[in-house]
């Protein structure tokens, strides 16, 4: 056997990415097994449309298969990168639909368009999981969690968040940053500076 430096999560991510570069289909299936629930859940929760979410999920995995070198392990984890890809695509879709809706005179959506009010009921069947996912945000004060929810799940820009909450843009920006910082501190196990 040969010695290996490959220890730690960053090396695992780099190794998986490299196997994709070399066209290893088994690596692609590993990737899907590990991250499809993460990607799909983000897509469902942002688009609130099962079919649209499935398209987002497919496109995220096709994108990394086609251009694996777009992911740079030095800049963050594969998990965070895939979550970003899923979120960006889902938000783009939602924003396009909303722009479309605003343009249409009577507010009627064309057939097949996303209905943001439609729950994806049968997919959110795991009550425990549904409760768990709210926990991280629930630990934050309401003014922070509300800003993050609007931005992340409703796909609002920070300017729209500011309007919605009736606060200056600078306040919206700092709430988003402070909220995420506290979540990051909780993740790393370190006591957040204002978490007491």
């Amino acid at each position: 056997m040969f010695p290996s430096r490959a220890t730690g999560a960053a090396d695992d991510d780099a190794r998986l990415r490299d196997r994709l570069v070399f066209g290893d289909e088994a690596a692609f299936i590993d990737l899907y097994d590990r991250f499809s629930a993460l990607v799909h859940t983000i897509a469902v929760r942002v688009t609130r449309d099962g079919r649209a979410a499935e398209d987002v999920t497919q496109e995220v995995f096709l994108a990394i298969w086609q251009r694996p070198l777009a992911f740079d392990p030095a800049r963050g984890s594969l998990r965070a990168w895939l979550a970003m890809m899923a979120h960006r695509r889902a938000v783009d879709l939602v924003r396009r639909e909303e722009a479309h809706r605003r343009r249409s005179v009577d507010g009627q959506l064309p057939a097949g368009a996303i209905d943001r009010g439609d729950p994806v009921g049968d997919q959110v069947s795991d009550a425990d999981a549904a409760q768990r996912l709210g926990t991280a945000l629930q630990a934050l004060p309401e003014h922070l969690s509300r800003a993050i929810s609007l931005a992340y799940f409703e796909g609002r820009t920070y300017r729209e968040v500011a309007v919605e909450l009736g606060v200056p843009e600078g306040t919206a920006k700092s709430r988003l940053r402070e909220g995420l910082r506290r979540l990051a501190a909780a993740l790393s196990g370190a006591p957040g500076e204002e978490a007491k």
Binding site: F2, V21, A37, L82, R181
Partner: protein, 343 residues
């Protein structure tokens, strides 16, 4: 805008950026700054990690999604072609080079590749020409037909004549199809009783495929260098077997370039993923005894050693540690690049 202004502007935006809640212009501004500011880059990473957990991961895609995805993935980019284990490094390098080529602009194909007099397209035709000797040995049809004893240079010249009327895309497709055909031919029952493939000199079939993997990798780096595209080194297990092949061929190449006596051994301690320790006799007829005391020990990175063996590194400038006979080690390192024209 001064650097400080930019830093302040970006630092304020970083939470919104991590939640994809900026305008496109702001997103660009943030990402340009993250590339140059380690403190913001770290915060950006941490906030992205936190954002990744917001949605949870409790909903699976519907049944059948993976099958549809695999079909779509294959249509967008062909995976490595299944083949015999000893040809897996070759199949992997072919797939990675094809990925690089898929990203080239028309002008890139006309650039002169690094370490070469050939353009990118001609270099690919050269790879295909050498691959065709393996293909012909396996009984696959090749264009133009191989004449017995045909030299590599003549083979490449013939291939270049054939390529003249083709588009870059045609060159790429025919190279890839031939490589895939070679991989598939090796997969079946071990019917082809091929003892050797002549690539400059006769090689056992498995070694010929390692030589092809090696050359495909190195020319891929030549193409990436001149077109400014990223590449990754081969997988550690592939680096390891390619290095093993190189060290087996090495004695025959270095012996006439090293001052006698040749009844000595040199140890290569190659570090990094895929590395290992090899004892190299200076006499190609000698077998390295199990417990031999080497005249010199040379330690360097395994991937850098491969690039040296491909004549892509200057032996006087490569990072290396030497113990024992320093003069012998110097002569040896200077001789290693002579391995390059062998396959």
């Amino acid at each position: 805008m001064t650097g400080t202004d930019s830093h302040e502007t970006v630092a304020e935006l970083i939470g919104a950026w991590a939640l994809d809640a900026c305008s496109a212009a702001e997103e660009e501004l943030v990402e340009a700054h993250l590339a140059t500011c380690p403190a913001c880059a770290r915060e950006g990473r941490e906030l992205r990690e936190a954002a990744a957990g917001l949605g949870g991961a409790h909903m699976r895609p519907p049944a059948g999604s993976l099958d549809r995805l695999r079909g779509a993935a294959r249509a967008r980019r062909r995976p490595a072609t299944p083949t015999a284990p000893y040809a897996a490094p070759y199949a992997a390098q072919v797939t990675a080079l094809d990925l690089l080529l898929s990203d080239l602009a028309p002008a890139d194909w006309q650039r002169t590749a690094a370490h070469s007099e050939l353009t990118v397209r001609e270099l690919l035709a050269h790879l295909a020409a050498t691959d065709s000797l393996v293909a012909a040995a396996l009984g696959l049809p090749v264009q133009p037909p191989v004449t017995p004893g045909e030299r590599l240079a003549a083979r490449t010249a013939a291939a270049l004549r054939l390529e003249r009327g083709r588009t870059a895309e045609q060159t790429r497709r025919s190279w890839r199809e031939q490589a895939d055909a070679v991989c598939r031919a090796l997969l079946g029952p071990p019917a082809p009783a091929i003892a050797t493939v002549t690539l400059g000199r006769p090689f056992p079939l498995a070694d010929a495929l390692l030589a092809r993997a090696f050359e495909t990798w190195i020319h891929g780096e030549d193409i990436a260098a001149v077109t400014g595209r990223p590449t990754v080194p081969p997988l550690p297990e592939h680096v390891h077997v390619m290095t093993d092949f190189a060290t087996r061929v090495l004695p025959g190449v270095v012996t006439q370039r090293i001052t006698p006596p040749h009844d000595r051994f040199l140890r290569l301690d190659l570090t990094g993923d895929g590395g290992g320790t090899w004892t190299v006799p200076l006499d190609p007829a000698a077998m390295a005894p199990v417990a031999v005391r080497p005249a010199a020990v040379v330690t360097l990175d395994v991937v850098e050693f491969c690039r040296l063996a491909a004549d892509r590194r200057d032996p006087r400038q490569i990072t290396v540690a030497v113990r024992g006979d320093a003069a012998l080690a110097r002569e040896f390192l200077a001789a290693v690049p002579a391995l390059a024209p062998v396959p």
